[in-house]
Amino acid sequence: MRHLLSIEDLDRAAIERICDRAASFAEVADREIKKVPALRGRTVLNLFYEASTRTRSSFELAAKRLSADVVNFSASGSSVEKGESLKDTVLTLNAHKPDAIVIRAPWAGAAALVAQWTPAAIINAGDGKHEHPTQALLDVHTLRQRLGGLDGLSIWIVGDVLHSRVARSNILAFQKMGARVTVCGPPTLIPRGVEALGCDVRFTLDDLAEADVVYALRMQHERMDQAFVPTLREYANEYQINGRRLHPRQVLMHPGPVNRGVELSGEVVDSPQAVITAQVEAGVVVRMAVLYEVMTAHPPARVDRPEHEKAPA
């Protein structure tokens, strides 16, 4: 695997291979020195065009545990604010000869575009509302650890599907792993045509009992301004996963950060059914596995300078 751009590009075998490798990396976190030398001397560049503490530090931690060197570039305070285009930024960063670039950007397809402009391996850490493949992989990994596998499971993804790249990647990943996916949320926040991804669509939680796994999405406050739902109170009344709605045999997931009292009630966040912290833990090992996969598929970076910049022989 040269790049990780989307779940769409992966088959079940590739997802399983990554999760298996993630499982084998799990014991590194329990060592006294939390490091293996797998990627020693390689450079990972985190290029983040959106504020993100969790995903970025998860990638950073993953790279460091594999002994890679990590450099962070964020959009604020850099040349990006001075009006540099994405392409020029990437061409500039190429000069640092990164072996891998982890990119998060607010535009669909940004990671795939960057892959055309650099010889480095590209890992998509979220492109607009399109995909967030490492989130889907870590969610699959979490479920495999907890339930053994996803075959035949019914998974409900609840909330703001319209604006969620997590939902899109997870719908694809869960189905590839043999689960049936239902998306549920306010009709204003379910994208038209989403059935084409193979999932069922519901607008109420009436049949939530049929789910084996309930995956709640974060309800972003800024959606209120755009009148997608009348109030957060009404949203919570209709779609909040709480002790009354969650069955004891169901597993509860959430990509974080949680709005307690909105999409999840406090009691379910703290319940043994919730695997939310396990997801965060899985994040590091899955990202280690992904970094390992793409970087061992690439020879070490050697970017040749353009002809006109070379010293005369």
Binding site: S85, G109, R165, R168, P191, R192, G193
Partner: protein, 444 residues
């Protein structure tokens, strides 16, 4: 005359033995075409015409000679956006596509919304253009949608029509005033139909592909509701409107109903909407980003059927060039628009005529009809008239972009496609405006 005629050397040539097709003149057969001093002086049985002294002889054997095309919808980007296109490159692209006249849109920088700007533009076109150009002025000042331009003065200065193209006239009240004012100022109102409250920040058609890509969608109803609204207003005020770049089934239905009801409405469809669908956007190629967006196969079929039945009056390219760095960005950031002049005929021929969906005569009629709503008569192959002809090789296969483009922009939605049908020679306003580089002309 609202059509600005650049200086064109009158042609003196004979096209020998071409298959001449002009459905309006009911001509379909092998003829020699003799052009002297820019006029078609003789239409003679193939091989029989005498070559006038000093005339070029063009071998038309195995080629088709058609009336040249008219494009009612191009963006030449002058004034202010000459890094995208200018009058010379844009009209060179038109000539290369077989067009003998184009109608330019006013959404430039500054907007063509006052007589001095229009005058300067027409003066520039008289110097720089390769084919005749007509200029439109905006309906509202600065395309802001809240104040009418001085339409009567603009008309006197040579505005052929009025349009806020690129944007809709959002307010129904403003639209109605423009229609009322049309009684004074005359001039067609050409309308870009879109309800921004429905299209929002959409970057592509709302449907299965947008759901998969997580890109905000532009629903078909954002166009069709405005089409219906403006047809109703035009009917009420007795105005004349031309609807630009229809993209969906519902719009075609709305226009059909309005025409049935006697509303003075005409409309156009673009080659990209006739040949491509939302599936082309899956790769997030920014060349596939245009407004209105590529829609579904059902919509495409409705446009083709409209073209066949005549509900859709003409084919318009909506040639919308952009600079490379503007399009070399993530899809959602890219500006809307594809070039189209150089590929229009070849695309429609390859995708619709070759597979037998439409016959060549219908395509020729629709590609020459674009000026009619604006008062530019359709070019005809008729003895005594100024020569406006295009010679095409229907069998010639070529890859779009293989030899670059005449346009300053390389952002063509058909780039890389193999098309059939190549323009070899364009005669516009009586002069040779374009000659394919490898195309040999034998002297008399």
């Amino acid at each position: 005359m609202t059509l600005v005629r650049p200086p064109i050397a009158p042609a003196r040539l004979v096209i020998r033995g071409a298959r001449v097709l002009d459905p309006r003149e009911a001509i379909d057969g092998a003829f020699d075409l003799v052009v002297v001093d820019g006029r078609l002086v003789e239409l003679a049985p193939a091989g029989s015409a005498e070559v006038p002294e000093g005339a070029e002889v063009v071998d038309g054997e195995g080629r088709h000679a058609l009336p040249a095309f008219v494009d009612p919808h191009v963006h030449l980007r002058v004034p202010g956006q000459e890094h995208k296109e200018d009058l010379e490159t844009g009209t060179r692209a038109a000539a290369a596509g077989g067009f003998c006249a184009v109608v330019a849109m006013p959404n430039t920088d500054p907007v063509v919304d006052s007589a001095p700007i229009l005058r300067a533009l027409r003066d520039a076109a008289a110097r720089d253009a390769r084919v005749p150009v007509a200029f439109t002025a905006s309906i509202t000042k600065g395309l802001r949608g809240d104040e009418l331009t001085e339409m009567a003065e603009l008309r006197d200065e040579g505005a052929i029509a009025f349009t806020d193209d690129g944007r809709p006239v959002v307010s129904a009240g403003m639209m109605r005033k423009a229609l009322q004012y049309q009684r004074l100022a005359g001039g067609l109102l050409a309308l870009h139909e879109e309800d921004p409250a429905l299209s929002g920040r959409g970057a592509m058609h709302e449907g299965e592909v947008s759901a998969l890509l997580g890109i905000a969608g532009i629903p078909s109803v954002s166009e069709s509701t405005m089409v219906a609204r403006d047809c109703a207003l035009a009917g009420y005020e007795g105005g004349r409107i031309h609807l630009q770049h229809l993209s969906c089934l519902e719009s075609v239905q709305a226009v059909a109903a309005a025409k049935e009801a006697g509303v003075h409405v005409t409309c156009e469809a673009s080659p990209h909407h006739l040949c491509l669908t939302e599936q082309a956007v899956r790769s997030l190629d920014t060349r596939m980003k245009m407004n209105p967006p590529l829609r579904t196969e059902t919509d495409r079929q409705a446009l083709i059927e409209g073209l066949r039945s005549g509900v859709v009056d003409c084919i318009a390219t909506d040639h919308a060039p952009h600079a490379r760095d503007e399009k070399e960005v993530p899809f959602e950031q890219a500006p809307m628009g594809t070039t189209g002049l150089e590929t229009a005929f070849a695309a429609v021929h390859s995708e619709l005529v070759v597979p037998g969906v439409l016959d060549l005569a219908t395509v020729v009629e629709r590609m020459t009809a674009g000026g009619e709503p604006f008062g530019i008569p359709a070019p005809r192959v008729r003895v005594g008239e100024e020569a406006n002809l295009v010679l095409v090789d229907l069998a010639a296969a070529w890859e779009v972009g293989e030899d670059g483009y005449e346009s300053r922009s390389e952002h063509c939605c058909f780039a890389g496609r193999e098309l059939r049908g190549r323009v070899l020679l364009t005669v516009a306003a009586g002069g040779v405006a374009y000659r394919e580089r490898a195309f040999a002309v034998t002297a008399a």
